[in-house]
Symmetry: C2
Subunit: 305 residues, 2 copies
């Protein structure tokens, strides 16, 4: 028996509640098989499209109050957590396993002095025209950036996770034999201010959050499920080369050489490297479609110290 943290992309969950329900029916099949094999499992999911949708609903509505970004993230944890725990619980019972599934609303601590706070980079919410974007910048102090020719969007910083407020809850739920869903969307980011945790408008990379959770609960294996079966060198070129098993030192060299896309594969590789920097840990990056094989280390890119 070994302890797994599995990280799922928010993009794999679709754009509407109906899509999300349908897609999750498939997602929970390999996860249930992993649980059936006797492993302990913690699930961390992204929330990009979902928190964007919630943010947009409140921005569009003139009859509801303004909803700050950490609160939108908290809503997305309830929304996705409910669908995921429902689908997983239904699946587990259908294969005769009586294991409880716990969605834990999770605050992740970031450092107010993290230099990343000075480089807002993660676009969130709606697209605006140039004039409105200047107004939002003036009136609300938002940082606005042009995004892929489609207009201007608010960008927020992406600080590194340093601690998880609910780590004891996650740990004890695991010890009680439950499956845990936590740190949805990378967690609700909080900074410490006068000995209090206070929510901040930021997006914590969900793979960094997964690696932090995996470290805090002393997991054996971190599995990041994404859109491709293997990490590649020279991705999408004639020289493309699949990576199957790579030691940490070599992977760090590939990362430093710029082989992996910023904001896509690079943070996943970096999260794995952070995790395997501890002795005896294994990280795997593979696709959701190949999850069963990836959990058995039979496909994907395996990273070990």
């Amino acid at each position: 028996m070994s302890r797994f943290v599995v990280s799922l992309g928010g993009n794999a969950l679709g754009n509407t509640p109906e899509e999300q329900k349908t897609l999750l029916e498939h997602v929970v099949i390999p996860i249930s098989a992993l649980i059936a094999s006797g492993h302990e499992v913690v699930l961390v999911h992204g929330n990009g499209p979902q928190v964007g949708m919630i943010n947009l609903a409140f921005a569009d509505s003139s009859t509801t109050p303004e909803m700050p970004f950490p609160e939108c993230g908290a809503m997305s944890q309830g929304y996705i957590g409910y669908h995921l725990q429902n689908a997983l619980d239904n699946r587990l019972r259908s294969i005769g396993l009586s294991r409880a599934v716990a969605t834990v609303v999770t605050q992740v601590v970031v450092d107010a002095a993290d230099p990343r706070f000075h480089q807002p980079s993660k676009p969130i919410g709606a697209f605006y025209d140039h004039e409105t974007s200047l107004k939002l910048q003036d009136e609300k102090g938002y940082t606005m950036k042009e995004d892929s020719g489609r207009g201007y969007r608010r960008v927020v910083p992406s600080p590194l996770p340093v601690d998880v407020v609910e780590k004891a809850v996650i740990h004890s739920a695991l010890k009680a034999g439950h499956i845990v869903i936590c740190a949805g969307g990378g967690g609700i980011p909080v900074i410490e201010q006068n000995q209090r945790y206070v929510g901040v408008a930021a997006v914590i990379d969900k793979d960094f959050a997964s690696a932090k959770i995996a470290e805090l609960i002393d997991a054996d294996t971190l599995v990041i499920l994404t859109a491709v079966e293997h990490v590649c060198l020279h991705f999408n070129t004639p020289d493309e080369q699949l990576l199957r098993q790579v030691d940490a030192e070599t992977m760090q060299r590939y990362l430093d050489a710029g082989h992996f896309g910023q904001g896509s594969m690079a943070p996943k590789v970096e999260a794995c490297l952070k995790f395997v920097a501890q002795a005896g840990k294994t990280a795997v990056i593979s696709s959701l479609e190949k999850a069963v094989e990836a959990f058995a280390f039979e496909t994907g890119t395996l990273i070990k110290s």
Copy 2:
């Protein structure tokens, strides 16, 4: 040491995220004192104004998908749970207590054959004019009712809670020494259909849900905090009479005689009576302002078998 389930009204949490944060700063003071006295505490909160707000934001927005009611409830659990756990955790640390706080996204099972499904009564979401209400009735199969002269609203049924999907999670979190926030808004209502739990558009009374949770985790005391310090006979008349300590049989007689307002005090009294029907249990109804005294059985209306 004794095990408390404390039920808080959603109306006590205000109408905006800022109001909610400020109000919760006060709410967590008596709760922290109860925890400091060494008791185990489970918190259940209402979500009327909050789930209404979320529902309204999605109804107003033309760029986001339609959001079903159970999903809005799940969002409200994340939203309120985050604020409540944050405020409580901050308060506990400020008084030198290191106890983790767990918000558990909670599905509450209702019976698809519950006759209450045929009497939709709980108004949710926006007000519509008569013409739009007929259209919604036709197109979406909603039941619409005129509400207090302000227009037409969708009404949903309020079935009784029969089980809690995450009861093992709540129980083990308590045993691990955590404070638990669960069944927000009465829980996300699910029915069993082909051995699967499926969300339904309904509102479970949060006091009935509190009593069910209290029963399932074998709590000693159920405390329902509301707007008045005592339950009264002949409420708001010259004959008004405070109730301080009442045995279950007498309280049942008062309830049957129609002393308590439908949709306000009656379900609270009924929830308490369900709970104290088990041997050795105590229920208290009092105000949030008098919570400290109510937890010590020094004020409020105390109901015992």
